[in-house]
């Protein structure tokens, strides 16, 4: 194997892996705080991709500028999904932790509804957005680095660091961590737990709004694109350690690099199978994930 080709694969794997990690951040945050596995995670990314696409078609807004719409839009959608659809389930089980299975089934239902509504509304055609910015690859030695992917990678790092800092230092961030740690004690301390849940869900979804805009120029936009990202996010989050933001990025990088290297030796579809094998292997050794607390 030519070392240049291999290092090209590694760089590409890092970029894609970072993006996987960034996309998975919201899933990790939501699970860490609400203990709800959001099966509709990928569907929200799909909605964000379409939002970026239609903003370009209808309003001529460049995908990179559409962030100012997609981020608040997805925050609103996430906030509503939590406060309208999931909150009644949590209220019903009042003092107890939410039954993971019932929440999973509920969000799986949300996924089915969103994906099929998207299929009805947008049709099965593959679409893609284009940016008017000239984004030539930058050269890393002899290796060309794809600019849109580098931007996505950078955004993942910035969001992970920024989110961790925000959770650490702000009043709302502290409240979110308190709710994640002990829901009843947080309520007794004067924290509006349903509001914190809705805000957390909104933040998790708004990160997908950002990535919808950033990925719209190079990810084929179809009503089914979400599931692929959703399942990969789940793998990334479990691999990295559930609820750990750095873990989400690390998990993404591991999967991204592994698949990029593996696909140099076997077809890309088999590489995905191998990465699931790696996933199982790592969990056998570290059941709580790479960065998870035992």
């Amino acid at each position: 194997m030519d070392p240049l080709i291999l290092s090209f694969a590694v760089v590409n794997g890092l970029l894609i892996g970072g993006i996987y990690g960034g996309v998975a951040l919201g899933l990790s945050l939501i699970f860490g705080v609400l203990r709800v596995v959001n099966f509709a995670h990928g569907s929200l990314l799909m909605l964000a991709l379409y939002a970026a696409y239609w903003l370009q078609i209808w309003a001529g807004i460049d995908p990179y500028y559409s962030i100012i719409v997609t981020v608040p839009l997805l925050f609103g959608i996430g906030f509503m999904i939590q406060s309208v659809i999931i909150a009644p389930l949590i209220r019903r089980e009042s003092a107890l932790v939410v039954e993971p299975l019932s929440a999973l089934l509920l969000t799986a239902g949300v996924y089915l509804v969103i994906d099929n509504l998207a299929l009805m509304a947008f049709g099965p055609n593959v679409r893609s957005a284009t940016t008017s910015f000239a984004l030539p690859p930058v050269m890393l030695g002899q290796i060309p680095v794809n600019m849109p992917r580098l931007i996505g990678f950078g955004a993942a790092i910035v969001v992970a660091v920024g989110l961790a800092w925000w959770l650490k230092t702000t009043r709302m961030g502290r409240a979110i961590r308190a709710v994640a740690s002990n829901r009843d004690a947080a309520a007794l301390s004067g924290i509006n737990v349903p509001l914190v849940y809705a805000v957390t869900f909104g933040i998790g979804a708004s990160i997908l709004g950002l990535f919808g805009s950033l990925l719209a120029t190079f990810v084929p936009i179809t009503p089914q694109v979400g599931l692929n990202f959703g399942i990969r996010s789940f793998i990334v989050v479990v691999l990295g350690g559930i609820g750990s933001l750095p873990g989400s990025i690390v998990g993404g990088l591991v999967i991204g690099v592994f698949e990029a290297i593996a696909s140099q030796f076997v077809p890309a579809t088999s590489a995905a199978i191998l990465s699931l094998g790696l996933f199982v292997l790592i969990l056998l050794v570290r059941p709580s994930g790479l960065m998870g607390k035992a």
Partner: protein, 238 residues
Amino acid sequence: MSQPALETVDLHAGYGDVRVLNGVSLTVGRGEIVALIGANGVGKTTLLRTVSGLVRAKGGTISLFGERIEALPPHDVTAAGFVQSPEGKQLFLNMLIEENLLVGAHNRRAYERRKQTLEEVYELFPILAERRTKLAGTLSGGQQQMLAVGRALMARPRALALDEPSLGLAPIMVDRLFEGIRKIRQLDIPIFIIEQNVFQVLNMADRGYVLEQGRVTLTGTGKELLENQHLKSTYLGL
């Protein structure tokens, strides 16, 4: 101005079909320490959870300084001024000690004065100031209980409830904790306290209630209850 700090009238509550409180009526006056005594499973903690809004009242009323609070969600009860340090401490173990305290000051009224309150709590429990940048999970049982009480004080309570603060503590820590509770009373905060440590708590309390099967069966001043034959034989084993 004559309403009691806390008053429940004919309070009913339970979980699902299980009735736990069958008409509890009691009052905590301003500036009073009132003890609630009873065996395990008679509804002491459920009573506090109901007052705090974590369990919905099925009947009866709860008033805080004359204002009805039985329909409020937990965070509004805390904001209104009834704050409890829950059974089993329920700390945010993976957060710093100072963060635990600051979370306690989340309601708007308390948040504005959080720096001043923090100083007061540190003065009351100096060990917390010493360890402020450590994780709450690193504290000993007695120190954790002080943190739980301190966190409740951070909310600037108008009425404070303590659920079994001495549970599992070494006798020396119990003494230190009760000393802290006496100091809190001097801040003119009425205290409603659930305790297994019957002798010690009745010595400190102005009045007490005995809860049996979800009902108040006995009430009186701390001294009267200490003299009571039924209470002596049941709870003090004398």
